[in-house]
């Protein structure tokens, strides 16, 4: 078989089967560490064997069987540990979880364990990318600009806590489910945002690998929990943002704001899928949560062929709805951008500056103020606001954009 085809088959199998293999082994052996190691060994064996033996007809089954053997080998090797192993088995219930409108999938247990609220958020992100996403530790370390050894320690410590504190391997009860799903979505949205607005001077301004991984994992949760409105909302939101990815950064690395993007280069297929998901949620008539409202805002933007066609009153109405669900002052910043189009920059400035104290450390607050002050012809105040926004912004494309805007003030 062609080595390129084999490599592609392994990559495909890795994407499709990694989480399933880890989840099945965790269930069987009650130990994330054994599951992770055996899964990694099974994929390494595939890389070794498939070029000579050919790709098996059912790669997932082959990988699971191989990983199971590796896990048993390890347990036998450490036979002294075997009894302890049995004692330390993770707790799981054998009853199927309460009906969720989805098939009972081991991967769901894996996701909820990795995103357990007793783990720090950064730890949940790392563990989810490793155990569910199948990223290697060096890949995750690179994504979050930490040393691989530090990332390895974080993941090792998390696995030890899961075992010692008995974080269960189970789908939460119906009563706990909404809060726990919200915790999973927070992790996925943080991964997406780090890809979308990558921080740090050494990184690309947009990390397509992280946004793609976040979308892939959210798709998986959506397939497992198809009736959860916020899961659907987050998937729609990610798709509608991702659709504009290539239009968002100029060749010279400068951020292009929404109003100046080449809308012809937006990904129509992703937008169509995002719109479909938003319509699906609207049709249920159930009051939307935060992600669904944000997805609806982005659906309004992506429905306008030209920025001048944007239905700004609809955007403001959606942000008003969002404030009722989530009273965070950060929303006031995004709302102000729409208010400026609808009622003018003066009204928008007053609305956003009401939150000056709470938002002083937030770069987007100063960037938005800077733009409003510029439009009002208040050059000196605009310059100070740009300075502060540049100081606080972590994303290189955004810094480039803000710097040019500030420097253009000087020529006015």
């Amino acid at each position: 078989m062609n080595p390129v085809d084999v490599r592609e088959a392994v990559t495909r199998a890795h994407r499709a089967e990694w989480a399933r293999v880890v989840a099945a082994l965790t269930r069987r052996f009650g130990d994330l560490d054994i599951a992770e190691e055996a899964a990694a060994e099974a994929f390494a064996t595939a890389v070794e064997r498939w070029p000579a033996d050919g790709v098996p007809p059912n790669p997932g089954a082959w990988l699971t069987v191989t990983a199971n053997r590796r896990a048993i080998d390890r347990i036998r090797r450490e036979s002294k540990r075997e009894d302890k192993q049995r004692e330390a088995q993770m707790v799981h219930d054998d009853d199927p979880p309460e009906p969720l409108g989805a098939i009972d999938d081991e991967r769901l247990r894996l996701i909820f364990t990795c995103c357990h609220p007793a783990l720090a958020v950064q730890t949940r992100i790392a563990l989810t990318l490793r155990m569910v996403g199948g990223l290697t530790v060096p890949e995750i370390a690179r994504a979050y600009l930490v040393q691989p050894t530090a990332m390895e320690q974080r993941i090792t410590r998390a696995k030890a806590k899961i075992k010692a504190a008995r974080i269960p391997y189970r789908v939460p009860s119906a009563e706990d489910l909404p809060a726990r799903v919200a915790g999973v979505l927070t992790v996925l949205y943080l991964v997406f945002n780090e890809g979308y607005l990558a921080t740090g001077p050494g990184t690309d301004p947009v990390r397509g690998d992280l946004t793609a991984e976040a979308i892939r994992l959210t798709r998986l949760i959506h397939a497992l929990l198809p009736d959860d409105g916020e899961v659907t909302g987050l998937l729609a939101l990610m798709l509608l943002i991702e659709a504009r990815r290539t239009a968002r950064v100029a060749i010279d690395g400068e951020l292009i704001p929404l109003g100046e993007q080449d809308r012809g280069s937006w990904d129509r297929a992703m937008i169509a899928e995002g719109h479909q998901l938003v319509r699906e949620r609207l049709a249920t008539g159930v009051a939307p949560g935060r992600y669904q409202i944000l997805a609806a805002v982005n659906a309004v933007h992506t429905s306008a062929r030209d920025v001048r066609d944007t239905d700004w009153s609809q955007v403001v109405a959606l942000y008003d709805q969002l404030v009722r669900v989530d009273p965070s002052p950060i929303i006031a910043v995004n709302r102000a951008v729409a208010v400026a189009e609808l009622d003018g920059p003066e009204v928008a400035l007053a609305a956003v500056e009401r939150h000056a104290d709470a938002l002083d450390g937030y770069h987007a607050y100063h960037a938005t103020r800077a733009d409003l002050l510029r439009r009002l012809g208040l050059g000196e105040r605009a310059r100070a606001a740009y300075d502060r926004a540049i100081e606080l912004a972590g994303n290189s494309a955004e810094v480039a954009y803000l710097t040019r805007r500030r420097d253009q003030l000087g020529h006015a």
Binding site: A164, A165, I167, P168, P172, D176
Partner: protein
């Protein structure tokens, strides 16, 4: 599986009558549901004595082994199937005693 649920406070024996009543009620629930192992309040850290008898000649030191503004003011030992159960019980315990608590598994 047993968990230590520590009550964090900067005072000792500082529960109000309402808090004590809520704790009693919470403890009754623990007993009724089979989670109760042991619980107690502790006197202030400055009543502690540290003992070092590692080399056979016991040395007694007045005061706690670590000085901190907040300390262990009381604790529960609870029986729980897993951390989800322990966290739910600890959350109810925190509410009952009106203090922050820490959950830590026994080995």
């Amino acid at each position: 599986m047993q968990y230590l649920v520590s009550v964090i406070d900067d005072k000792s024996n500082s529960g109000t009558p309402e808090e004590m009543a809520a704790i009693d009620e919470f403890n009754e629930g623990l007993r009724a549901d089979g989670h109760w192992v042991f619980a107690g309040g502790l006197a202030a850290p400055d009543t502690a004595t540290v003992i070092d008898n590692r080399d056979g000649a016991a040395i007694f030191t007045d005061g706690p082994f670590v000085e901190s503004k907040e300390y262990l003011a009381g604790f529960w030992v609870m029986e729980a199937a897993d951390l989800d159960v322990a966290l739910r019980l600890a959350a109810a315990g925190s509410k009952a005693c009106n203090r922050r608590v820490e959950v830590r598994p026994f080995l």
